[in-house]
Every structure is written in C-alpha cells, then in structure tokens.
C-alpha cells in the first residue's frame, strides 16, 4: 500500500527536555537545552501578553487569508501581500515548493538543512551535494551545468554549520542559472547574519526580481517563536500563486498568527536578542582559542566547535543535563551549540573546560 515510501526513513528530532528528564532523572528547570537553535530569550513580553489575551479563542479558526500578517511582512520587506505565502514554519513552504515542482534532481551544499533532503526524497528526487560541506558556489555551478537539477537550495547563512555567503555572491550565482531551475534561498537565520556583517544582508526585493527565486524566512529564530511554527515564503506573484495550491487551509494556529503579528511590532526585542547572541558567542570563541579547538565563524545563533571525541563529550554533557547537537552523524568530530543566556553559556563552558 505504501510501496512508494519504502526507501524513506522516519525523521528523528533532537532530544527533547522531557526525554532527559525521563532518562537521567534531572529536574526540568536544571536542564540546559542548546541543541535546537531556539532563541533563549523567548518572544517579546508583548507577544506573550497578546497570546494570553486571546487564549480563550482557541476554538476559532484563524483568518485563512492571513491578510494582516502578510501586510506586516510586506511592510518589513517593502513588497506587496501577493508576494507572500505563510507556512507552518518555513519548512512547510519548502515542502510546498518541493512537492509542487516534483524535481528529478536537487542540488545542495554537502552539509545543510536536513529538510531539503527529506522533502526531496518524498517526491523521489535524486539528491546532489557539493563535495564541500560548506557552500562553495563554484562547485554548485559545475554540478548545475552537468546535472541540470530543477531545484537548488542555498542556506544563507547555513544551518548546521553557520557559514554565510555574501549577498553579492548569491546574486551573481542566480544570474548564471536558467529560469527553469528554482533557486530557494533559505534565510532562516538572515537577521543574525545581517546584523553581524552588512555584506551578508540579502535584499529580498532584488532577489525575487528574478523569475525563479523563492526566499524563505521564519519567526522561529530571531523572533523567538520556534514552538509556534510560523514561517513564510517570498517570491514573484506567479510562484506564490502556485505554492498556494498546495497550502492546506488554516495551516498556522490562531495563537501562532497573533504571536507573529505582535512579534513584528517589537523589533527592539529582536535586536536585543541578536546583540546578546553575538556578545555571548564570543565566550565560546575565547574558550576555543584557549583550548586550541577550531571553530566555524558563525553568522547564526549557534556555533560549531571542533572538540575531539565529540560523541563522548556530548554524552558527558547530557548526563549533566546539558543538551547540545553532536555532529558525529555528519562525520565531524564537533559539537553544534546554540548560544544560550549568559548563565547557561558560562555553565556549558565551565563544564566543557572540566571534561574536554
């Protein structure tokens, strides 16, 4: 009955706090979870207040046109409503695009966001990856010319590694791609990159002036709403109209819609979180230098540290209630650590100093 699915595997998410509580008996409030790139400061207090105020309306479906949210986003990006589609996380917009194009071949960096591959395999696509783990556009171009994939994914900056292409490199690359190949530019962490280095800041209006570009963004990271599942796609009207054909009605919750709307109104809170992120990231860089560990220069809210015997170290951290992402499954002897609050980072670094 499900022959089509026989080569697919079930996705395994990072260990949730609940599991560590169950396995090691550590109290929930003593656990430090820095494994899923959640924003440690959470959403703006104004967002929390607004959501509480409409919690009694959970029986009401949201306005399925998402009119107000699209208006808010249109203002943020100096575009029009018709350039937007709302998804349950930007993941879902990726799903619409991949299922809609149903590509035979897709191209992506050697190590990049896992969902590109998962959704592409669902439609039976062949997965092409560059030899380099990080984005190397010469390699992208070479494979593109030879294989003509129908979708190319650029993760700018890249999760789970943290490196980031310059905006000009992205535009130049797109110029070289034919219009019948969709280039998806995933900007889930763009707010962080744009803050750290103006050269990384993508001009989305310029990006979507190309007929074959889809940009995706999210409220999960800089806006602190990972658990609410709200993302968006931005493209020209024709691409957006096609993606809407695959969007199920009411694909974000009533409370998620309110949260996203309010989050857009408090850019001050977002800026505070990003500033603190890079201030705190410096602690990990200083620690790595002190120990002689390599690390990847990061334009996101996480950092990859090459710590020898990472699997053993990740296990030791877990038993002490600290959850990080071990990169061994990618063939890297390294840990990916989400930048937490000051006290969390201090504890993680002190623990690492003891055990590594």
């Amino acid at each position: 009955m499900f022959e089509k699915l026989k080569d697919l595997k079930v996705y395994e998410a990072g260990k949730p706090i609940e599991l560590v509580v169950r396995e090691f008996g550590i109290k929930p409030n003593e656990i430090i979870k820095l494994a899923s790139n959640e924003n440690p400061y959470g959403p703006s207090p104004k967002v929390i207040e607004a959501v509480k105020n409409i919690a009694h309306l959970m029986h009401r479906y949201p306005d399925d046109s998402f009119f107000e949210l699209k208006e808010g986003l249109a203002k943020k990006f100096s575009l029009e409503d018709k350039n937007f589609i709302i998804g349950a996380g930007s993941d879902q917009v990726l799903e619409f695009a991949i299922h809609g194009v149903a590509p035979k071949k897709v191209l992506m960096a050697g190590i990049t966001f896992a969902m590109y591959e998962i959704y592409s395999k669902q439609v039976g696509a062949e997965i092409l990856k560059t030899p380099s783990s990080m984005h190397n556009l010469d390699e992208f171009l070479e494979i593109y010319k030879k294989e003509k994939p129908e979708i190319i994914f650029l993760c700018v900056p890249n999760n789970p590694l943290g490196e980031c292409l310059d905006a000009d490199e992205v535009y130049d690359f797109i110029e070289k791609i034919d219009n019948d190949t969709l280039v998806i530019v995933d900007g889930a962490y763009q707010e962080f990159a744009a803050y750290k280095d103006a050269k990384k800041a993508l001009d989305v209006k310029r990006l979507i002036s190309y007929p074959n570009v889809l940009y995706t963004g999210t409220f999960s990271k800089a806006y602190g709403l990972g658990g609410m599942r709200v993302g968006y796609g931005i493209a020209n009207e024709e691409i957006i109209r096609n993606l809407h054909k695959l969007r199920p009605p009411f694909n974000i919750t009533t409370l998620s819609l309110k949260a996203a709307l309010e989050a857009l109104k408090d850019e001050e809170w977002v800026r505070m979180g990003i500033e603190n992120n890079f201030k705190e990231m410096q602690k990990y860089i200083d620690f790595a230098r002190e120990k002689g560990f390599n690390y990847i220069d990061s334009f996101t809210n996480f950092i990859v540290l090459y710590i020898p015997q990472s699997t053993e170290i990740a296990d030791k951290l877990l038993k002490r209630g600290i959850i990080v992402r071990n990169m061994a499954s990618y063939g890297f002897d390294a840990l990916r650590i989400t930048i937490g609050k000051p006290e969390e980072n201090d504890k993680v670094i002190n623990t690492l100093r003891e055990i590594s």
Copy 2:
C-alpha cells in the same frame, strides 16, 4: 516549473469574521459566525489556564515524539502509543495517507469533506464519487468492484451534510474490501454521533484490527480546539510507521500540544458542549417544521436546512453579521448552520423567520 499543478485550484475557506468587519463595518463582537463548525463553548477553562501558564515558552519546540499525548489518546481508545500519529488537524493525517499511497483512483460520497478531493488531486488521482450525495454503501461497493480505487473515504458522520452510517454498516462494508485498498474512516464528529445514538459509535479498536483501515479524529470539534490544529490518526503499527515517514518534525505547536493534553483530561466539559449542541439543534428542527422546510437529520454540531433561495438568504444574513455556509456551491438550495450558543441560535432563527 509548476506544470504538475496546472489543473489545481486554490482552496477558499469560509468568510472569516475579519472580512465581514472589513466589508460591512459590523463590530467584531456583534458578528455571529456559524460557518465553520467551531465549538461555540470553546475549550475547557482548564485548557485556557494551562496554555496561559506556558505562553512564555513559545520559543521552545514541542517534544516531537508527542509521547504524553499519544499516551493520553491510547488510554482513551484502549490502544497503544504505536497505533497513533499526531497531525496538524486530522486533515494533515489525511494528507500523509493520500501522499503516501499516491492512489490512481479514490472513492468518496457524492458530497463529503472537501480535503479528500483536494489532497487526492495533488497526487493526480482520479476522483470517483457515488451518485448519492450522502453515504450509500451499495453504491460504494458497486464502484469499488468496478474501479478498484486504492483509497476509500468514509466520513462518519459526514461533513457537510450531517448524516451518519451505523457502526455495523461500516464493519460489514470493510469486510468486503480487499486488503490492498486503504479505507479511511474520518471520525471528526464521532463524539457527537456516539452521544446521540449508540448505534453510530465506532469501536476504533475493532476498526483498526482490519489491516487496511485508518481512523482519523480531531481536537477541533468536540474538544473546542479548532484554531489549534491538533488531530490524530489511528491504525495498526505498520500503517502508522509508514505515515510517520511523511510527518515533518514539530508539526503541532508547543501550545497546541499542551491544549490537547489538558483537553483530554476534562471530558466533563466536552460532554456539556455535546449535550447543549443537541438541545440547541432542536430549535432549528422546530423552526424547520414550523416553516415546512426540509432538513437533514444530523449527528454532528451543524444542521443542513433546505431554505429556498439560499444564496439570497445567506447574503441577507451576512449583511446582518450572521455567517453561515451556503450550500449552493454543492447544488443544494440549503444552508449549513453550525449550532451556536443559545443566544446566537435564537438570533439566527428570529432573523431567518423575518427574511425567509
């Protein structure tokens, strides 16, 4: 680029309150929305409280195993966790099943839940419908034998008409279907039907003892959580394992998970809503009899009244701030009205008395 989608249309949801506010300038709190089968009593106060208490955790992804929720559902249905998959509404479970099977042909009642057809068209399936609008299992069987569809949908009770097959009719029908055809039994409104008439109550444990049956249920209706998008699929372990291959991670929100968990604990509230539903439905039946209008005997939280010139009547209601579903698009001169709170139903009936 999107050739595959060229025959698909964009889904149009019912008019949201926001639109009526914009179009007719009626104040939001004066609008009566009885168009989307939302539970007028909303969720249990305990659910609202629990959600407010964790509103500051919106940055945290939910436990993606949905361990606790599956445990709660397993208890409710006397089954095991491995028999469950959680969806963003039961719609999403339908999507997993349809995309996973990728059927060439699907079979459904003449008029039934719109998403069966929408998801099936996304995978290019031919849509077969019985000549009868309501579920007629003789017709189902005849078409099944001739066409051998890979999926059959039974909506028990049926949305948007309200009629309901007996449980024994469902079991007898399934016995006659080969194991390589998936029978999806959609129980979105089962709690209402089971309350009204014990003969309609499906034994889910028995249903899923068949190797080819998927049952779907939801928190959107009886549990009053339509806006939170939580549903579930129940089947044998093998079907569930396959459906999980198509489930994206974190497919319900952190607040939705909490709401569903708490809702399961307050069955008293659910029962109150269902009792009131049928008490209030009687008012519409009395009105129909008084006016000599036909209606469909309903096992749900809505009722279809055959009111002449339904399009004109629906428009008149809308201008008075009352939103119902006009059935003209189904070729019926009728309105589908969600059963509201007592004061809402009284106002609707009084208005209908004036204008019809």
